[in-house]
């Protein structure tokens, strides 16, 4: 049982930035941004390739996040100039990113076990130190994100997601907001990809498949569990972040639980898919009532 908890926590930890990014796109910008499937791999790929070329992991991590932000900006660009809706623009981006990622990585899989990572000195001491370092990095990202959402810019992003026309009439440049919003959520997804690659020890071209879906399912589940407990909306940013944490943790708890029942891995996605469908259904039913 303790093993199950530890597996859950460690896996959930690496995906928290991704969950925050999805919280931004799905809850705040009100768009299903499939770019994330691609930018998650992009983050892992850029990090892995740079590190294996001998670049410092710190620089490589920054480059990975920047690459993610660019991917998101590209999705925003497609929506604006290509007049494509957010869902389609994201699918298009992640489609294109498959080639980009392949070109960056040069091969479908890059092994990182013998390369330095952001956490290698910490893990060299002991596991606890290692995980604390991961925790610290995730916490820094989460706090930065929280501060941003609490700022005026965060309010504008929310308003953009709700009613871009009205916001434009206030004289705000909504294309800038779109670019910032989609850039930021993919920056977070790329950060998750780069952290995951360091923890599992490799970057793989297919590691992002279904990430958007997992993230959305998780945050909906989290909101579902938390929102009824908290009434006031002054705290909604905090509630949202908390529900992202809890949702992603529960998802991995269930995933690892299933693995322990010796489920044939062939059926794993089928079962998780059904589970996500149930989460989504439960959430929409509750939405009708409130």
């Amino acid at each position: 049982m303790i093993g199950l908890f530890i597996a859950t926590l460690t896996q959930a930890l690496t995906l928290i930035p991704l969950a925050l990014g999805i919280n931004l796109s799905y809850t705040i910008l009100r768009a299903t941004d499939m770019t994330i499937d691609g930018s998650f791999v992009l983050g892992a790929g850029v990090f892995a390739q740079l590190v294996s070329l001998g670049v410092s992991p710190y620089l490589a991590f920054l480059a990975a996040m920047l690459a993610g932000a660019l991917a998101g900006a590209f999705t925003a660009f497609l929506q604006h100039k290509g007049k494509v809706d957010a869902l389609l623009a994201g699918i298009l981006s992640s489609f294109i990113l498959y080639s980009v990622n392949m070109a960056i990585m040069g091969r479908p899989n890059i092994n990182l076990l013998n390369s330095p990572s952001l956490f290698s000195t910490a893990f060299a001491q002991n596991n606890l130190m290692g995980w604390s370092a991961v925790c610290a990095l995730v916490l820094i990202l989460a706090l930065g994100f929280y501060a941003l959402l609490q700022s005026r810019l965060g309010l504008y992003l929310r308003a953009f997601g709700d009613n871009p026309k009205l916001l434009a009439r206030q004289g705000l440049n909504i294309e800038t907001l779109r670019t910032l919003g989609f850039g930021l959520n993919n920056l977070l997804a790329a950060a998750s990809g780069a952290i995951t690659a360091q923890i599992i020890g490799y970057a793989d071209i297919n590691m992002g498949v279904g990430m958007t879906l997992v993230g959305i399912g998780a945050i909906i589940l989290g909101q579902h569990l938390i929102l009824p407990c908290i009434k006031t909306h002054y705290l909604r940013t905090r509630t949202e972040l908390l529900s992202a944490f809890i949702g992603i943790a529960i998802y991995f708890f269930i995933l690892n639980g299933l693995l322990r029942f010796n489920i044939n891995p062939i059926y794993l996605k089928l079962m998780l898919g059904v589970l996500l469908a149930l989460f989504l259904r439960a959430a929409t039913q509750k939405a009708k009532l409130s």
């Binding site: 308003a159 709700d162 705000l172 009434k231 909306h233």
Partner: protein, 248 residues
């Protein structure tokens, strides 16, 4: 001293697919402090006229001056600072999936001074301020605005619009989706605030009673052209029968 705030100079608004222009030969000026009631049948161009003023539409010909500046040459931000529009549909006026307080933060024109006093003070101020518009709003600051009733939404939209009064307030049938009693109440409130805060306003309506009771001038449109202008003593002495005759 009377100053001309808004001048329409030979405004035409065409739409390629339409036979006749949406608006044509509009020459009109609005003085500071005027409260203009715009009347006309469905499709006569009332809403289009207001959309030209707030920049949602561009004229095909002619220009609209705000004091001496072409409104369509102003930056969107600058224009939004001077002009505020409310329409009958809530999603034009408010962010429905945001809370009441967030709407206040976004829509108040000049929140800086109040913000300095801190969140608590701001909340207390807002509750007190909203009381005059609709007492129901006071304890709903953290509620999503989409969950308010239509009447509450329009009262809120008006309250936020005039908190830091714009130079020009445009009201496009802002009471038309409300029940008669609520509509009458909101209309009286609107007229009160416009007079009290000395806002220059243009209001479109199909409610002839409102047109008789409120406003300093009437502008009647027919098929995109100015049909009649009624102001001053003639406006005060206007009765229902002659209004119908002159304006439709």
């Amino acid at each position: 001293m009377i100053t001309t705030l808004l001048t329409f100079k030979d405004i035409h608004l065409n739409y390629p697919a339409l036979e006749r222009p949406i608006l044509q030969k509009i020459n009109y000026s609005v003085q500071a402090g005027d409260f203009v009631i715009v009347l006309g049948a469905n499709g006569s161009g009332k809403s289009s006229l207001l959309k030209l003023i707030d920049g949602r539409y561009q004229p095909s010909q002619g220009q609209i001056l705000l004091e001496h500046k072409n409104i369509h040459r102003l930056s969107a931000k600058n224009r939004a600072h001077h002009i505020h529009t409310l329409t009958q549909s809530a999603q034009d006026n408010l962010f429905l999936n945001l809370t009441l307080f967030e709407n206040y933060q976004l829509l108040a024109r000049n929140p800086k001074e109040r913000k300095k006093k801190g969140l608590e003070a701001e909340i207390i101020f807002l509750k007190e301020y909203l009381k005059d518009f609709n007492p129901n709003l006071c304890d709903k600051l953290s509620m999503l605005v989409g969950r308010l009733s239509g009447g509450e939404q329009q009262a809120l939209a008006l309250a936020l619009a005039v908190l830091d009064p714009p130079a020009i307030l445009l009201l496009d049938e802002h009471t038309s989706a409300l029940d008669p009693k609520t509509a009458a109440h909101l209309m009286a409130l609107t007229a009160n605030i416009i007079a009290q805060k000395k806002i220059t306003a243009l209001l479109t309506t199909h409610n002839t009673q409102h047109a008789l009771n409120y406003g300093t001038r009437i502008l009647a449109l027919r098929e995109g052209e100015i049909l009649d202008c009624i102001e001053g003593k003639a406006k005060k002495e206007l009765d229902h029968a002659s209004l119908l005759e002159r304006c439709y």
